[in-house]
Amino acid sequence: MLSIAIPIAFALVGTAFTLTLWRLLIGPSVPDRILALDTLAVNAIALLVLFGIAQDSAVYFEAAILIALMGFVGTVALCKYLLRGDIIE
């Protein structure tokens, strides 16, 4: 079952990854790009988890957890920068 599901999942996440990347590159506004970066982090988590399942290894989940934990910090900092300029005040 997994041998069918995993390639399909990879294909779907890969598509999402490509589209997100496209949005990141073309923008046009800065919030577009920030949102794209945040979505890219979600895609990265998906890729890592899928890869971990495919390899039957838990090592990759660590990196996925860390992205989940900290991936949004960059987004928050960038948003705060847009809103306030000063991010630590």
Partner: protein, 933 residues
Amino acid sequence: MNLLLCVITPFLGAALVAAVARLGTWQAAAAAAGVTLAAGAWLAPLVGGTFQGTTLIERYTWMPREGLDLTFRLDGFGLLFALMILGIGLLVILYARWYFSPQDRLGRFYTGMMLFMGSMLGVVLSENLIQLLIFWELTSLSSFLLISYWQQRTEARQGARMALTVTGMGGLALLGGILLLGQITGSYDLSVVLAAGDQVRAHPLYLPTLLLILLGAFTKSAQFPFHFWLPNAMAAPTPVSAYLHSATMVKAGVFLLARLFPTLSGTPEWTWIVSLTGLTTLLIGAVFALFKHDLKGLLAYSTISHLGLITLLFGLGTPLAALAGVFHIINHATFKASLFMAAGIIDHETGTRDMRRINGMWGVMPYTATLAMVAAAAMAGVPLFNGFLSKEMFFTETLGTVAQLRFGWLLPLTAIVAGIFAVAYSLRFIHDVFFNGAPIDLPRTPHEPSRWMRLPVEVLVALCLLVGMLPALTVEPLLAIAARGVLQGPLPPHSIAIWHGFTPALWMSLIALTGGVLVYEGRRPLFALAARLEGRLEARRPYDWLVAGVFGVARWVTVRLDLASLQRMLFLFVLSALALGMAGFWSAPMPLTGAGPLLPFDPVSLLVALGLAACTASVVVLHRSRLIALILLGAVGLIVSLIFAKFSAPDLALTQLSVEVVTIVLLLLALYFLPQSTPAESSRPRQVRDLLLALAAGGGNAALAWAVLTRPAESIADWFLTHSLPGGGGANVVNVILVDFRGFDTLGEITVLALAGLGIYAMLDGLRLPAPAADAQGRAWDPDAHPLIMASLVRLLLPLALLVAVYILLRGHQLPGGGFIAGLVTAVALIMQYLANGVAWTRARLPANLHPLIAAGLLIATMTGLGSLALGYPFLTSSFVHFHWALVGDFELASAMAFDLGVYLVVVGATLLILIHLGLVHDLSRPPAEEPR
């Protein structure tokens, strides 16, 4: 063990003195004296053996493969110097307590002095020559700190710099000489070198060896033409001069001459170079001393002259001359130290050192005057004082050359002339200061100094008298063992007595005394002549030219090499790298693809790699819009960490992810003050040129990587993989390398990180920059500084993130993780609080001062290393034990985990320190109208 402890005690004591000095001046002086006495106490049990003629050698293995051991040596000569260093040091400590004014920071002086004392003891007690050189350089460095004690004075800084430059260059030459000596004899041990005299003197490299070593000795002992640094070093406080410039530092040069006397002396080269240098210095010093109006200037030139005398004695090369040289070292140390102290008292009491203004002090301080007179009489060589005895021996030795050389009579003649001037300047020191009419316009009203300030002078003057009148009872035994240590053989027959009958030397002494009085009587025309020549005969002029020349050459080279344009420098750099790389490809033609197996290929990896390439390319295209470039860089970092994870480097992936976040925060903090876009720097044709070059260089790199990766290669990874668990007790090779195999590197890295953090903190302190009042499009900033939802969510996140960090830290030794990553995760979690809840909120809940955190981290890491040293293993050796704990199961506890904890703390502390203080600059810079809400 005693010698090592004796040398190391002052170094350790320096820290103690610095700490105690905060309590008060008396405490500082007592601590310094205690350290000195402790160093002496280690030496005390060995004195008896040394007097019986044994040479004690202590050896500790240090770097055996390099022939470098920590080796100490105590013989009579070393003991003499050690006694002078400790004894006069003790007197100077007492003297300095009264000399410095309450505004001066006494702790700094005593700390510097302890460092100097340890270095000097190291020089005189070293058996290994390389080790001697290390301590030799340490004396230069610590004397730099002491001479520049009054940092606010220009002449103190200049004098210190000059002394360091001259003696430092000499030290470099000495290193060369010692290395040659080691090549010739095959050992750096003094015992071997001293026994190999014939071999050294017959060797073709003898002359360069001799010249290099002499350069070191002459610069240190202020011999002509390097003497000029000593008068300029008189900008030092007088206790420093009394210690360094009479008894210790300047004597290091003649110490070296004496130490290597059996190896190097006895050749015509030695005799000519050393004795001519000594003779010239003797004469020039004596003549110049008379014309110095500055009290300490006179003493400085007199010191130069006496050092010349000692050098000349060693240059003559006879055993008796060497004995006289050792004797004069002792005598000069006693009377010159007391004279410096007396000069310091006069300076202290009158507020000036100009002898044209200080007159008639006899009426004010008769007691000090008497002491100074005794010391000055010893300096002049008046009978019944110690200087007379060694000077008479000196005169006798100069007469020995008359029959040997064609112009041999020049030597005693010059000696008499120098003797005449010595008497004249000694007379001037007494007459001009204590008599000669009334004082002129003194800044202070002088009176007798405190009893304690006079005590050290009294002790030294008493020694001058005792040695002068009862030489056989006082100095003879010490002199005998010291001279035996110098000669490394039996002593020549000699007699030290006041009365030898009407010998030629006695007549020479009498001529010098009478002539000196006459010269001083007729001083007025001489002073007028000197005033006209003032400044023309300055030996520091060539030095200044030399320094200016060196700076000129350096500037010339810099201007030629530095194009002052990053674009052009980078262009040249990449171009030359490309040329070298292509030369490599062409010189050995071979197929690009090697025989190694290729990894399997999958579409997802290709997609990710293409994404990476696309993001990187867009950074280049969009780099002028800085915020967008930063967002794209974030994406690049994310994808790179995906690639790390894919290619089995989870540690790298975790590190990359954490670093990425910190980098974005850091750059955003900086971007606040910077323009939002980069101006165009290059023209279109230049951009095309640079693009082509970049493509060529990048393509070359890719080809190289391809060529290397497709070849089967034996890497060092296998060794680490097999040794990680049995050797380091950890299954995670990356972490074991960091904390165990390469633990010393890591210790260095976290030290650098801590220093960088502190450096940034210091530079940001009080910084205010113009801050933008609105964003790039001119819109006003959002009034809501800390949106409630974000603030609340981030607070909830903190314990979770800390849990992850602790988890990563603890299991780092076995599975991906470790101190670096855990530290970064913690730092990010805490930064998040600052970001979402504000500085004020977070500071109220977290310790604001991060310096103790960094210090604790460094301390833990270092102590872990030292712990293994204490158990008898090399520094940072890791040890681990296997545990079984109910419920938890099997686990291993390694000392490397404590080290990792240190790494963790430093990373957290330094990262937070940098980011938060950069953030605080924002608050300082914010216009007052728009206070953060």
